[in-house]
Symmetry: D2
Subunit: 460 residues, 4 copies
């Protein structure tokens, strides 16, 4: 790194890339980047060129001399990289539309990282990330992999367990959001509070203390309910039951709404699904993305446009930049990451990936030991982690029965014939990206299984 840092971003054609560039530009003093390589695949070439050209404009408008390389050749890019960030989406937004619409067409939660959709995103993504890791072992064995491809927990766990690669951190913007929104509820700034997060990606809880060491979790909870606008909600805005949250004295994460308020979340999703004028989240995002790329084409645009902040994943890229800078400059910043447990969440095995408060510095993540969870949260966390491990094994082996096992124990999927049907339709719909399941898919096709939802069926 003596000549400056080399960053490689897989999925560089993403609409988030400008946020990533902005994050790097503002941290240049502590993270002196030499070159950035944005990598994408053939299908994403046009977007890569649009956003990549804009990225170069952003650097050119900065005081720093950084070259942005655009390439479809991943191996060329990885050579001697210092940090590799992953923000790719296998199958693009069309795959996400299927992940959402197919379960919803049978009345089940259809979501990108939870339930049936999240399982299939893992099935598509894990084989690809493991390929990337194999390339890294050969081409940049000292690099850090900073993953923010979802489902970030399972993807990061697979990198450690199957890829045997420990220099990896998974990132998520959900904890960032909580720490941005909550302090002002009790008249504090983030600096005046001490946060402790524990769990797994999109399934964690946190507690908060003030500078006198007092637990102020309950106070924040009370304020959340007296002041609607304070609820951390980048998802549909349904409050947890106050009694319940007060009893556990921990604040669940936003995605926990799918679990604590399944009925209402499902109803909301079904409303959007059934209204052609609205559509599911991916359909909405697809529209937003198209608008963003129109903006990016403007040869005068040389900074992150305001509109990007309204896209759900805000702060994701900034968290990634902060993580990279913290490693590079040994900043020891408190960041919530997916990392090897090592005991931090004693209710889960020490060698599995968890999402916890950690101090990030030159040695990577130093996870903070949280201690045991109360019984209800412990049990729920354990079934979720085991479900994830079954998903990962199915993703690696293509074992259909394991996929069915994962569907069965997933709390958002009511078991039975319909669940099996949803599994089968998703397999067929994602055929192109699921070579490991090829035999089963062929069998299903031979049996005449087709996708019921019209929109999903007609996508490539």
């Amino acid at each position: 790194m003596t000549k400056g840092v080399k960053i490689v971003t897989i999925g560089g054609g993403s609409s988030y890339t400008p946020e990533l560039m902005e994050g790097f530009i503002k941290r240049y003093d502590e993270l002196p980047i030499r070159e950035i390589w944005l990598v994408d695949i053939e299908d994403g070439k046009e977007k890569l060129e649009t956003v990549g050209t804009m990225a170069q404009r952003m650097w050119d408008a900065s005081p720093y001399d950084v070259k942005v390389h655009l390439t479809l050749d991943r191996r060329e890019a990885l050579k001697d990289a210092d940090f590799v960030t992953t923000q790719f989406r296998v199958g693009l937004l069309d795959a996400r539309i299927k992940d959402e619409r197919i379960p919803l067409s049978y009345g089940m939660v259809g979501q990108e990282t939870n339930g049936a959709g999240g399982i299939f995103k893992a099935f598509r993504t894990i084989p690809v990330i493991l390929d990337i890791v194999e390339d890294m072992k050969e081409l940049c064995p000292n690099a850090w992999l900073i993953n923010f491809t979802n489902p970030a927990g399972m993807v990061t766990d697979a990198v450690v367990r199957y890829g045997k690669w420990d220099k990896v951190l998974g990132l998520c913007n959900v904890p960032v959001g909580a720490m941005m929104a909550e302090p002002e509820l009790i008249g504090k700034t983030l600096d005046e509070l001490v946060y402790s997060f524990a769990g797994i990606n999109h399934f964690h809880w946190h507690r908060v203390r003030d500078l006198q060491g007092n637990d102020v979790t309950g106070e924040i909870i009370e304020k959340m309910y007296s002041n609607d606008s304070g609820i951390p909600a980048n998802i549909h805005d349904i409050p947890f039951f106050l009694d319940q949250v007060k009893q556990m004295n921990m604040i669940p994460c936003g995605y926990h709404r799918y679990y604590y308020r399944t009925e209402e979340m499902l109803n909301h999703m079904l409303e959007e699904y059934n209204d052609p004028a609205v559509g599911t989240r991916a359909q909405q995002v697809k529209q937003t993305e198209a608008e963003l790329f129109e903006l990016y084409k403007d040869p005068n645009l040389d900074h992150k446009p305001e509109q990007l902040s309204k896209r759900g994943g805000a702060h994701y890229s900034d968290a990634a930049c902060e993580t990279i800078a913290s490693i590079y400059a040994n900043k020891n910043t408190h960041i919530v990451v997916s990392t090897k447990n090592n005991g931090a969440v004693p209710d889960l095995p020490a060698d599995t990936v968890v999402e916890v408060s950690a101090y990030i510095g030159a040695a990577g993540a130093r996870p903070i030991a949280f201690g045991e969870l109360p019984a209800a949260e412990k049990g729920w966390l354990q079934v979720m982690k085991n479900m994830e491990q079954v998903v990962e094994e199915a993703a690696v082996t293509g074992n259909y029965a394991l996929a069915l096992q994962a569907f069965t124990i997933n709390p958002l999927i009511p078991s039975g014939e319909t669940a099996k049907r949803v599994l089968d339709e998703l397999l067929i719909a994602h055929k192109k990206y699921l070579p490991q399941f090829a035999d089963k898919i062929a069998e299903l096709e031979a049996a005449g299984v087709t996708v019921k939802d019209d929109i999903a069926r007609e996508l490539a």
Copy 2:
């Protein structure tokens, strides 16, 4: 015990009592009973007299001189008891009807030991069993408590954890049924097979080996699916998915259908619920019971009538008799019981109650160490056990938020407003038997919450 064994049966007015008597009579040589005390409460006095009189007739028709005492005074009965069996039902069958109909009225599984109904049966039963244990500490401190009141797992666990009473075994007829039905599927007798069960009550799995040490679990599974009649089904007869069961290479228990095939089980229950001519299981059982008690009144009936075998709990009482005889005569019989784990199921804490294969003898249960479960079953078992512990704590403390926590993580209850509504209606419906929740119930009544289902609402 020098003058013969004293047996006390709490809930002695049950329709199962004749099976219990038959079991004792046929084992008299190894279990020389001196006296049997059947205990019941005021509301069950008539049934107690009917079935108690018949019990005495059964002994009189036997070669043995055993006196059957009938009493409403539990403490008198417990004095110097050697074995206490519990088969009482707090609130009688009417309470079960509520446990079933109220959840079903909102489209949720309504069942005696699973889902919302099972949680409420625990709420009603645990305070009573803890009272019994307090009496036993004083009146018969060396006695064994043989519990077959459902939900047997939670009730037995509460006896150990909250009652601090270790001389307790919980019994269930489900494993008995499996071991009776399966061997012939592969042309064997039970003596030619070695069974290993592990899990918790109504949520366990088993593996089978033959006398050459070969695992024949897969073979039994195959036969179950080629021969419909072989499926162990005292519940509605829906098969597990063959692929899935073969993959796990363990046979789930009958009650697992509620979890592996939630959709179909629920649909079946809703059909019965919606058909006034059929009604839910408790309504059917109430009819059967009435018929049984008519039979029992016949002064010439001095043996267990055939009709009793058709009642769902067949073999329950026989398993209890065999357990008692095995302890008394140190028979070292293989029986599946709810007992302190001690490590037998290493995926659960050593000090919690599990349901496992054990050898029963003078020292009580010697549980057989099963080893770790595969990931999917491990996670599921862990969430169920933690849910049970939350239920028990709620039952003991009357903490509403804990009740809501248990509802939320229970796999058969979709979380949200409707779940909360079901919880609230059940609290109101069972008011008489839930003094620990009195404050919350008063609050709900003040808020105007009433039971929607007509039949449930009109029961006392």
Copy 3:
């Protein structure tokens, strides 16, 4: 096995073989043996022929037609075996003399299965047993391996962990001795008591209950101390401290004397070591063995001679026969064996080998879950098990630093320069049987390290 059982005994030239034959003859009705293969190595050929000829005489004097084959070709013998028993001793008694005398020459415990000597017996034996397992995978993949080669715990654990062979049971005569000696102390027979053992080989404890379920461990302990002859002592007869044993309310095993009374045991061994007329245990045994083999040569001797019972390992072979018969005839006998934990001793990992009470039948061992040990015993057991795992890894890899680690944490070896010297001398002394440590041994020899003890040095 349709034509009768084939037994193979590795180390068939052992002086114990007649006890093994006697055990098989008396169990012929339940274990119909067809042929027995006694296998030994070139160095043991003479003893093999002597004892093998006598073994055939024993069968000829019985009503059964069983052929005893003698061979130096292990692979020929293993072909299609049903049971393989291992009682070999790598390096014969001369190696044991070194294991005892070299530590004692530096004032440390010198013993066959404990301390430095036990570690070196493991170093010599584990590579050989792993070779045998490889042969078995090829030649008799359905056979059971019944190991009674010491150190039986580490050897059995290595078979499971490194050999990946689960059909193995390790046997020891120590629990047999306890169960033979103790009952009469309290006026009972073994049938009137229920024994529970837990720990690892030569480092386990037990509790006892009577047929009323009462814990009588304390009563047995009291009697042991009021009646000297009752102490289970096939080792030097030093009592445990009464206060201490009463407090723990468990009976340690005989070998525990090395740990609970290190000082006295060491002094006794040093006395024998320093008295040329006595010598260490192996020297005494060597004499006994010579006498036994003289007896065995008598062409008229066709039964086990009385003198064999005085050899320390009495009942070992009988326990092996009973184990084999219990598997073959699915007898479900209570036997204490080294087997995969599966949770039976929850203070140790589920996948490691422990020595516990188990029911032995067609499916092998069904270990009984013992529950957690008290703090002192738990900690001690954990360090011993971890020490064993370090020994096994050193035995497999030949890693000198791991050997030093094992020496350091072993409770019977005071750490420091002398311990290292003992390690180095033992390596040199056992050079012939430690190819895995060849490089280190060469280095030590080059540095001029030699064995100080004259007798040990002069042995081959």
Copy 4:
């Protein structure tokens, strides 16, 4: 704390108090102290006045207006304290002389925190610290207890387990010493390295990484052995075996020498013990202390004298000041402390106290999850932690058999009659401070047990 911080120091008459004052003075800007209360007992009154007067001189010479109160009334001092530090020594240095000389008189390690001596220091200290905690619950329920009374691990664990007080941190200067000495060995400063410690007090290991994330533990180890002066040695200077330390790739703590090199450490102690001109460590320290107090009497001395740095416990008090300042100012400093595990050392239970790297801030310690230790260290740590728990239980209950259990499993005490004799003599010698063992001591006295070592016997 609005009017400034109130610090209370129990054992304020200690010779270390000037270092503590110096530490507070130099941190005044971040830790604005209002008043300091030095508390001692009647026997320490003279020293308290000497060192307390000097402490006030130090503050008077500083720019800050802080009042130092001297008192024998602990309860008066504790009222509304913000931080309570404990540096008391029950029985003063004379008790330490006994802890050292009595074991050494029988050829066993005699040391303040390890072996028999450490166990007895715990026996004397734990009841007193639990009394202090009871006072704190009443008089300063929001205060932090910063303990540096040895054995700091057991004392802190007892505060949590038996005192049910979580706001406690235990401190030790050993990690400070390592972090001061090691970096320059590899040409680095502490800021250029990332340290991770895990274990329990005086029995921990650490690993080190550089700012590129590389593990440099091995490099430091190599340098330690090529450069004698680099070895962290406030104890007698005996190196660990290089092979062994390289293999484990962790650096043991200084006190680990007693365990890894027992022989040499013992020999060194015996040399000093047997040389009247030298004496044991406590005898040497007593001399140093006398000299220090002579210095402190100088009315012109208003700063910490150079000589204090030569006392073994240098940096202890500074670590305490830094810890207090880090809590007060939420500094998030990396400090190695004894604190509740919470999973940081997954080889030990989550609810026990461990000594680990932690970030110290307003919420107290945030322990860093270290992950599992290698087998040898894991086993050793487990036996030590269990031994500590047995010691604590014996300290609280006065149970002699538990004391014997702790002696038996302690790796530095060879078990047997002599160990029991050492236990008995130590009980008698410390009679005044062991009221919980009064009955046993009376029994030993009646049996005529006396202390063999002349010097120890003649001390009060």
